[in-house]
């Protein structure tokens, strides 16, 4: 649309600016709080300009952690979170793409039954099956391990469904042409399906990275050892009691650090992400 309506421009920009400020302000406060000493934050009103303790606070949380509540270093937590946020999406993509490939391209008995069984699990989020899952993990001796942290989150109906829908848009003739060319099923998968799925995989990776990174309830249950904490529950573990009992500047610094990686992933993969959601290159 080519239109020149200054008032409309002004109003729409005003709405956008107000919206952006509303979203950004808490993050800004969080950042400001992470750069002051505890005493400074405890003043009323709290300062709204960055203070001088930036390096000190971040150095302390990264290397030593809080002195109250959980005392694990945030660097270790970040590492745990990273491992979890990488293993979950990669595992999901690997398993989902293969199961979707089987469901779409192979005729085997009860094919639809299997598809619906996978589909039905969509109705059972982690929270609903968390107690039995915990029991299973505990019996397998996987408490406080990376396997225990990631394994239950890897099975994914959503991703399988997404890949299935994508595969169904690939023309049958492509599979037939590959057959004429002499490609077996796995060759077809590797040479044709896999490259065509790249953007879908990228989109899924972004979504699932954030999903894995932001997991709260499951890591809270499965980890009791501080060295296995992810950063999201690390924040919670730093908060122990009343208002004054916590080192808020360190909690805020940890929160800032926890926000960064997902933001980075979204920023870096934005192009691929959008492509994966809208592109239909066939």
């Amino acid at each position: 649309m080519v239109e020149k309506r200054p008032l409309l421009d002004f109003v729409s920009h005003a709405v956008l600016v107000v919206g952006a400020v509303l979203v950004a302000f808490p993050i800004y406060v969080c950042f400001v709080a992470s750069t002051h000493s505890l005493e400074a934050i405890m003043q009323v009103p709290m300062p709204l300009l960055p203070g001088s303790h930036f390096l000190e606070n971040y150095k302390q949380v990264l290397l030593a952690g809080s002195t109250k509540g959980s005392q694990a270093a945030v660097l270790d937590m970040l590492l745990n979170s990273t491992i979890m946020a990488l293993v979950v999406p990669l595992g999901k993509i690997t398993i989902s793409i293969l199961s979707a490939f089987a469901i779409v391209y192979f005729r085997f008995p009860m094919r639809n039954v299997f598809f619906w069984m996978i589909f039905v699990t969509l109705m059972l989020p982690v929270e609903v099956r968390i107690i039995p899952t915990f029991k299973v993990m505990a019996d397998l001796g996987l408490l406080n391990t990376y396997a225990g942290l990631t394994l239950p989150l890897i099975a994914s109906a959503t991703a399988t469904f997404l890949f299935r829908q994508f595969f169904m848009t690939i023309p049958d003739e492509l599979a037939e042409a590959a057959r004429m060319d002499g490609a077996g099923p796995m060759r077809f998968f590797v040479d044709v399906v896999w490259p065509l799925s790249k953007t879908t995989m990228a989109a899924l990776f972004v979504i699932q990275f954030i999903y894995g990174w932001n997991q709260y309830l499951w890591p809270l249950l499965i980890t009791s050892d501080e060295s296995m904490y992810t950063v999201v529950i690390g924040i919670k573990r730093m908060i122990v009691g009343g208002d004054a009992a916590n080192e808020w500047q360190l909690v805020m610094a940890t929160a800032m650090l926890a926000m960064l990686p997902p933001a980075m992933v979204v920023l870096l993969m934005q192009k691929w992400f959008v492509k994966g959601l809208v592109e239909t290159e066939k």
């Binding site: 023309p171 003739e173 492509l174 037939e176 042409a177 590959a178 057959r179 004429m180 060319d181 002499g182 490609a183 060759r187 040479d191 044709v192 490259p195 065509l196 290159e281 066939k282």
Partner: protein, 360 residues
């Protein structure tokens, strides 16, 4: 190079038989077109030859070898699909080379074959491009190139030109002809376009409802259609078919509502018999009223330039015996009766029950 033979080939999906026993011998190097309306089973038959559909009964052999249970790749064939089915993420070169790579040919050999095919199809400058950067005609050529590089003994084409615009279709048609002349490879070609069938085929198979109505050279099919279906399907505009009963002297037919057509030469042997009389629009010509064999009332006309198509009806029922005639524009009369005649060699008679041709 190979001949192809179909022996009583049948295909059923459950109780529904979609291919009802087709037999044909295709000689080495022959260009055979299978033509018919949508749903007549022509694509299914081609896919059975390709090995993409199983054969319920009967045998298909290529080069004397029964291929019923062979995988497509082992049949030494290549197929061109209607929507091209190019691998979208591969360059033109890789698209053409993919099958050869799987066969495990040496790099130099692949390169040579692809370059040769690209040369034939004038694709040499496009080898690095992706399919989406090509026009429809170019994509079609890549699809053909992918078939050529395999140096198969049989080419299979499944409506390859139907996604192209009219002008490009004519151009690709002549390119296909040139290609066949050059390579001399046995070719099976499926289309619903009877013009494509007429122009490309050495022999054509007109299909309807899962069986072959007629197999023959295009001109033979045109001039001596074996059934009323073939008569109506081949030719544009389609042949006029008028139902009626032969008069007692066999000199004319009379239908309901005053429909009447006089025959150029009387057929006393057929006197009293119900027939379908067929005559092509292009074989009708204007004449004096005294010589007229039929006198349709003109409903409307289409002026095509040198020719005009005149549409009319016989008798009192406007929707009954409709007749079309392709006449020289100078002859075209205004509305009203239009006296027309035709030569005896252009008369076709069919049995209305079986649709089979009656030799006049």
């Amino acid at each position: 190079m190979a001949d192809v033979s179909l022996r009583d080939v049948r295909k059923s999906y459950g109780a529904v038989q979609v291919i009802q026993g087709i037999g044909m011998d295709i000689a080495d190097g022959e260009f055979v077109v299978m033509v018919g309306p949508s749903g007549c089973g022509k694509s299914t038959l081609l896919r059975m030859v390709a090995g993409l559909e199983t054969i319920t009964s009967g045998t298909i052999s290529i080069g004397g070898r029964v291929v019923n249970d062979l995988e497509p790749k082992d049949r030494n064939i290549a197929m061109v699909f209607q929507n091209y089915a190019l691998y979208p993420h591969m360059s033109v070169f890789d698209n053409m080379a993919y099958g050869l790579k799987i066969q495990g040919l040496a790099k130099a050999e692949i390169e040579a074959r692809v370059q040769r095919a690209a040369g034939i199809l004038e694709l040499s400058k496009l080898l690095a491009r992706r399919p989406r950067e090509l026009s429809g005609g170019q994509r079609q050529r890549v699809a053909m190139g992918r078939a050529i590089v395999r140096e198969p003994s049989v080419f299979l084409f499944d409506e390859p030109l139907s996604n192209l615009d009219a002008k490009l279709r004519v151009q690709m048609r002549s390119e296909l002809q040139a290609l066949h002349r050059r390579l001399g490879t046995t070719t099976l070609y499926v289309t619903h376009d009877q013009v494509e069938a007429m122009t490309l085929a050495n022999r054509m198979m007109v299909m309807n409802g899962g069986h072959a109505e007629q197999i023959g050279a295009p001109l033979e099919v045109y001039s001596r259609p074996a059934t009323a279906f073939v008569a109506a399907f081949i030719g544009s505009p389609p042949m006029n078919l008028v139902a009626g009963r032969m008069t007692a002297d066999g000199g004319a037919i009379e239908g309901e509502g005053g429909v009447a057509i006089r025959l150029p030469v009387a057929r006393p042997a057929l006197a009293g018999r119900e027939v379908l009389l067929g005559v092509r629009p292009e074989h009708l010509e204007g004449c004096a009223e005294s010589e007229a064999m039929l006198q349709p009332d003109v409903d409307f006309m289409e002026l095509l330039g040198s020719d005009s198509l005149v549409y009319g009806h016989l008798g009192t029922n406007k929707q009954g015996a409709r007749v079309a005639a392709r006449l020289h524009t100078s002859v075209v009369a205004k509305a009203g009766h239009l006296p027309l005649r035709f030569a005896d060699e252009h008369l076709h008679l069919f049995d209305p029950a079986s649709g089979k041709r009656i030799e006049p």
